[in-house]
Structure formats: C-alpha cells, structure tokens
Amino acid sequence: MSLFLIVLLPFAGALLPGLLIRAGRNVCAATTGAVTATALLGLIVNAPAVMRGQSLTARLDWLPALGLNANFHLDGLGLLFAGLILGIGLLIILYARFYLSREDPMGRFYTFLLLFQGAMVGIVLSDNILLLLVFWELTSLSSFLLIGYWSHLPESRQGARMALTVTGTGGLAMIAGMLILGNLADSYDLSVILTRKETIQASSLYPLALVLILAGCFTKSAQFPFHFWLPHAMAAPTPVSAYLHSATMVKAGLFLMARLWPVLSGTPEWFYIVATTGLVTMVLGALIALFKDDLKALLAFSTVSHLGLITMLLGFGTKGAAVAAVFHIINHASFKAALFMTAGIIDHETHTRDAQRLGGLRRLMPVTFAIATITALSMAGLPFLNGFLSKEMMLEEAAHTAWLGNPWLVPALATAGALLSVAYSLRYLVHVFLGPERDDYPTRPHDPGFGMWAAPALLVVPVIVIGIYPAVAEALVNTTATAVIGQDPHVHLKIWHGLTPALFLSVVAVAGGALLLSVQRPLARLWDSTPRPEAKTMFDAAIAGLAGLGNRVTDGLHNGAITRYAAIFMVTVVAVGWHAYGGGALGAETRALSQISPVAWIGWAVLVIATLGLIRYHRNRLRALVLMGVIGLIVSISFNYLSAPDLALTQLSVEVVTIILLLLALNFLPEITPPETPPLRRMRDMTIAAAAGLGAGGLIYLLMTRDFVFGTISDFHLTRSYKGGGGDNVVNVILVDFRGYDTFGEITVLGIAAIVIYAVTEALLDSPVRRRLLHRQPGHALAGDAHPMMMVIGTRVLMPIALMVAAYIFLRGHNQPGGGFIAGLVASIALVMQYMASGFAWASERQRYPYHGIIAAGVLLATATGVGSWLADRPFLTSNFGYFRIPPLKEFELATAMGFDAGVFLVVVGAVMLALESISRMARRQDNEVSPYPMDIDPARETTPAKET
C-alpha cells in the first residue's frame, strides 16, 4: 500500500466513528478498528521489503519553494514505530470499546484517537522535517483532545492544558532547531540531512540546533525537568493513557532522537545533555513511582523512568547502546501498554486505583492477576521475560560508560534505577494482588469480560515469547537498528551471556529492590513528610505569572481609550518620520508656488476657521457635527478646484451619509462630551496631535515644492488606461481594473463591516442599556409631526431623479468622473430619504430584498466577473471591452469591468443601507404605532390618524 495512503487512512477514517456512532457502539468500534487494521495491513505488506534492507519512499512536492515536500519514507525505524502505533492502537480500540461507559461519547473518542494515530504515523514516516513538524504539532493538539476527553472533570482539563503547554512550547523550540538544522544541511529532507553529519557537527550553530531540537524531544518524552506533565495527563481515560504513554506520544521524542541519531550523536554535547538527562530522569522517575499510591501515577512515573532509560542509551552514542535502546522500546511498549490496561481494569472493576485501598485481589481477579504478574515482572527485569534482556543490555552498556572520567557513577546510578524499578514493579503486584482479602473494596471485584482482558492478554504473548526465545525479535531489532546506526549490527539476542558485570548488577538490583519494598511503608511516611517542590503549583504559578504579564501588556496597550491608540500611533509615526527626515537628504526647492486667487484664500480661511471652531466646540456634539458639515463642504469644493472631480463627487455623497449616520448615533448619546482626562494629559495629547498634524503638513509642503526623485506612476496609468482597461477615466480604470483585486478586497471588507454593525446592534437590541436609553425623557418638547407631508412629497419626487442620476453616474463612470462607488452612495441617499420621510416601518415594508442579500449579490457579481476572465484563459479580473451598436442608439462601449463595477455598486448600497437600518432599528420601540400611511397628515384622507406623542 502506498505510504501516503497509510498516513492518510487514519485521518480520513477519523470522520467515520463520529458519524457511525448513531449505528451503535459496536459498529463504531468495529469501523475504527477496520480503519486501523487496514492501515496496519498496508504496513505489513511493505514489511518484507524493509526487512530485506530496502527502504521505501513516496515523494510529492508540496511547497517546494519552502523546501516543504510531502515525502514519506519507510525504513526499519519507521516500520517498528508505525507497527507499534497501529498494532497497539488496534488493541486499544478493542479495549476502549469495553472500557468506556454508556455515558461517554464513544464516537468522539474514536475520532480523536484516529486523528492522533494519523499524526503519529505521519511523524514516524515523514521524510521531510518540516512535514514532520506539522505532524508533531498535530500530535500535541490531538493528544490535548484525548487527555481532556472527560472535559467535565477539572483535572482532565488542567492535565490536557498542561500537556499542551509543555509539549507545545517544546514544539516551538523544535521548529527553530529544525529550521537551523535544515539550513545547515541545505535541505529539509531527512534522507539528505542524514548524510551531512560532518557539515552539521562542524558548524558553530550545531549546539544551538541540538539544544532546541532536544527541548522538543524532552518535553514530548517527559524527560526531567519536563516530566511533570505526564502524571497529570493520567486524568485521561485509561485507554488513552495506555496508548499515549506506552507506544506513541511519549515515544515520539525518543523516535526523533533515534531518527536524528546518525547526525546529532557522537559529540560530547550530545552525550552530556542526553545521557545525563536520561540518567537523572530514570532514577528520579523510579524513585517517585515507588511512593505513588495511585496505580496510574505509579505507572506514569515508571514510564518516565523507562523513557529516561532509553534516552540515556541513545545518549551514550555507541552502537551497542542504540541497539539496546531500540530493543527496549519494543519491550517497554508491550509490557507497559498491558500494565496500563490492567490498572484500567482494576479501576473499572473496583472503582478505585488507590494502592492503599487495594490488596488481596489475586483470587478475586485471577486473570488480571496473571497478566499483571507477567508484565510487571518483565518491567522489573526478571529472567525469561523480555524486560530482562534489554535491561541486561542497558546495564552492560552502562558498566562501560564513564561520566567526566568517573567510571562508576553511571553504572551505580543505572543499577539504582534498576533497583527502584524492581521495587515499584513488585509493589504493583504485592500491594494490589497479594496480602489478605479485604471487605472494604468500593465494589465487589471480579474479572472483567473477555473483551476487556483480551487486549492485555495478547500483549503478554510477545513479553513471554521474546523472553524465552529472544531470537524471534532479532530480525526486527537488527532492521530497526540498521536504520538508526546506519549499518547492520548483527546482534544475537540471548538470555545467558555468562557471568558478566551486567548479570552481577542485575542480581544486586533484584535483591535490593525486594529488600526496599519490604521497608516501603515506613519510607513512604518519611517521603510524605519531606517537603518537595510540587511541579503543578510551580507550573500554575508560572502560567498565572505569564498570563498576568500578558494581561498587563495588553491592558497597557489596549485600555479601550481611543486617545491612547491614537497617541501611540501618532508618536510612532512622528518619531519614524523625524528619523527618516533627519537621515535623508533634502534637495533644493525646484517648484515655484502657484498664484492663489482671493476666492481660494477665502475657502482656505473658512476651512481653517471651521477646523479651529471644531476644536474649540468639540464637546458640544451637535455643534461639532454642523462644523464638520462646513469642513466637508469646503473639502468637496477644494477637490473640484484642484481638478479631482471623482473625489469631489465621492466626498459630497459620503458627507451626507456620514452626517445621517452620526445623527442616528447622537440620538443615543449625551449632548455634551464631559472632559474625562486631567488638563495636563489633554495638553500632552494636544502636543502630540499638533506635532503629527504639523509634521504631516510640513512634509507634504516639502514634497510638493520639489520635483520627485523618481518619476511618478501617473504616466504609466495614463498611457495604459485606454489600451488596457478600455476607459478614459484613469481613476475608475485603476479601481476596477489595474487595482481591481484591491477593490475586490475592499468591497468584501465593506460588506463584512456592515454585517458586523448589524450583528453588534442586534446584540444590543435586548440590552438594558437600550431600554434605559429609550425610556429617557427628551430634554425639550418634540415636534408633533413625525412624517411631515412636505418632506414625504419632496423626497418622493426626488427619488426617481436621484436614481436616474445614480444610473447616469454609474454608466459613464468608465470614461468620465463617476463609477459604481459614487453611484451606490447616491442611490442609498435616495433610499434613506424615504426612510427619513415616511418612517422605518413604512419604508422597510416596501423593501423587498434584505440588504444582506444585496451585499452578497454584489460580492458574488464581482467574483463572477473576475472568474469570467479565467474562461478566456486570462488572469483573475482581466477586463475586456468592445463597441456595440443597437439600432436606435449610437455606438456605445461595453466593458466587462462594468460587471465588476455593478458589484461595487450593490455592495455600497447594501452596506450603507444595512448600517443605517441597523442603527435606526435601535430606536424602534414595541409601542411605536406602525402607520399604514406614508404621512401623518394627508388632506386627501377623510380622517387623520391619532398623532404620536
């Protein structure tokens, strides 16, 4: 089966359980199992080739410019890990079917599980480190979902968050490390990187890349000091713990260390960082495990310890140690998954997993006892079980390793780790199964059904078979080790190596471990009374500190006052502008000032006086609005005077719409803005504002009195406007053609903004604030006539004229001032007039199409126009035009840009009307009478309706 398919199957299959849960739990579990089994089958089909020493590759260029290729690669290491992930995954699926209760949403569980499985398979089969990083992050995310599966439990949520934070942070570090590694090797493909050992290790960046990559591996594999997340992840359902912490997630870090072993290992940095961390983790994890009463916590810390063991072996950097590491990965996965499942069975059947409350279960749960005995003894490293073999190899390697020239430190600590391992493994048996039967179990314990113990029982098979007849694992170990160390180690696995130092250390460990267990209870009291740093409190404090810092920074920058944003923005702009001005050279003035006519002087004076007046009276809102009207008027005239008729038309219509919008809002606002800041701060703000305004004005003056250093782009547009866009109006051609894509984005944003206004006002409709505002008494008596006749008649007459003007402006826009935008504004003003004259209810009753739809139609029309050019094999939004003649009319031009411009027109109309309608809806009251008549007083009617008060 193609490697792509093996990786994609779990992801594609993840859709099924969520849907098929409706068909029942058995169907759901069976489907999930079928998906995993198919992927496993696909892997097995490829296995013989890999065992023969070939490696399979599937290549697909994804983003070759970034070096990101979807390349997959299957060699011995990938085969082993993918086999573990899919094989144990299959057993977990079986076990979970019987473990999860009826209340647990099983479909969701299997969906998460398959997502996680896919991500893991992706990691171990990736041949591109960027692709690997993608899958790496996916495992962090999907494991977050799995650990937090029981989201109603606080421990579950906290554990999931902690796991995500720790592994996610490590993942970020690893991204940086991988990018450095890829740069050093000049390729992101693993197959290339693995051949560049000398180049990479010679670089001065090697230590940095190493530390960053190891940070990712150590956090994922729960190595000291990042080990603390793993026990908290035990809040997950047991199938998740058994899967994540025996075969998959925590092994991802080990996998990566093994994968990059040929490139990164062999240096003192590698040895001291990796081997030391592994050694410390092994001893510390084993020590804590001995004193944990919660069975899953015990197993969690034993996992930490065994991961430390494997890390240490990889850290030794010798080929023998790497082989031992690979072998222990296989053995650990088999016995630890089974042990987790037995812990889950005990929890499931007795409703406790506290070792203090258990004991004497051997007769009550004989099957579980048998499985637990074999696997725990394997974990302890007793002969004729697979744990023994790899532990012997580990001790053998440790016995030959010196640390800073000290020959006994590593062997002594390794033996201590093994001793503790014996102690906690035996404790798992002695304190749970041996001893007298008790009468205070939470429920009457008994063995579970076959479905639940089948999976762990199957895992016992390799534990015993490899333990007694190690040669069966030789082929797999040799193939895997070949992938790690680059040559076939030709290892012969056997039980009896003669009287080696390792055997001696092993005997010490077993005897010492048994002895230690006999004094575990008094030691535990001592352990509990000694103060220890509690990782959870430290983690919580660190997170709270970071969150507090984040809040302070955010609140400092975003305190909700627009003055602060404006101040920060303006100060930055002034500073940057000042820096640029000081750093650049300013040529001599080359342009003379033009003559100013007296009328222009007066216009300028009106503008300045009105602006000063606005500043003076800005606290009186209505007066400020009137002054804004003056300023807008003068600006519009100025645009005309300075030969920018398009801008003038736009400015005029925007002014009207703005005034209406602001007046609608002012209805809900106090008449006077009270001063809210102390005078000193107002002075400061005034200084900033003046500096920014005068600075901008000064710069513009300097620019306009000189010729530009570079030629302007106006000529470019002027020469191409007609040829390329078929229009004489350059402004319009730029909008709908040259920069059509920008306009396309802008109208989309405009539509979104209008819909956001709608959503915000919709949310306010039920708010107490609105109720209070509606019930306040106006400061002065209101005029009686809500819909005066004069206004109704006037606006009615004007509407067709205004719409005709809009159509005219729209049609000629391509060649003369105008276009969709201005036409849209004019049309909306024509409509708003009707709302103002006859009221909201009357007008919206006659509005047949919702404005949302008009916005959408506009965007779709613009899109369709753009896509249309694809049909002619041209890029998006390339316009075309031609001349047509329909007999009674003169010859006229039609451009495809007109369709686009019509889209702009519709969006503008929809957006303006939706915004106005949304805000005016705020002022609607339930008790407003909806008058069936357009005006309140109509002499043509016999009777006049009661006037509103």
Binding site: I609, G613, L652, V656, A786, A802
Partner: protein, 89 residues
C-alpha cells in the same frame, strides 16, 4: 466684462461663505447654525457654477447638481434631529 462680473460674483459668494461661517460659530441657536450651513451649501453651488463658467468646463456643474440634489438631505436630517431626536422613526 463677463470676467469682471464673474469675479465680482464669486467674491460676493465667497464673502457670503465667510459671513455664514460667523453664524455657524456664533449661533446663537442651533437653528441659526443649521440655516447658516444650508446657506453655505447654496453659496458653494453658486461658486462652483461661476467657477465652471470662468474655466469654460462643464465638469463642475455636475458637482453643483449633485450638491443641489443631496445637500438638502443633511439639512433635513439636522432639522429632524432637533425637532424629533430620532431622524428615522
């Protein structure tokens, strides 16, 4: 002669603008301000038309027409606001 007349007229309307601005700022009432703004709009139309005549182009007439057609909407809106508070009811 026409140049002189145009210049004279423009001067008058521009002065009108200034005087209206005085009313906009001094008031005393809000209705005075709104009325003054409306008058300014009328003056602006006149200025645009005169300026168009002097430069011999039609392009300004359109702005003038547009102001004439739409300019009153803001005046009405101000007036409704003062009289009824809510301009769309």
């Amino acid at each position: 002669m026409i140049t002189f007349a145009l210049t004279f007229a423009m001067g008058c309307f521009a002065t009108g603008l200034l005087l209206c601005l005085f009313r906009v700022i001094r008031g005393p009432g809000i209705s005075d301000r709104i009325l003054a703004l409306d008058t300014m709009v009328v003056n602006a139309i006149a200025l645009l038309v005169l300026y168009g005549m002097r430069s011999g182009t039609q392009i300004y007439f359109e702005s003038a027409v547009l102001i004439a057609m739409l300019g009153f909407v803001s005046t009405v809106a101000y007036a409704r606001f003062v009289l009824r508070g809510n301009i769309i009811e």
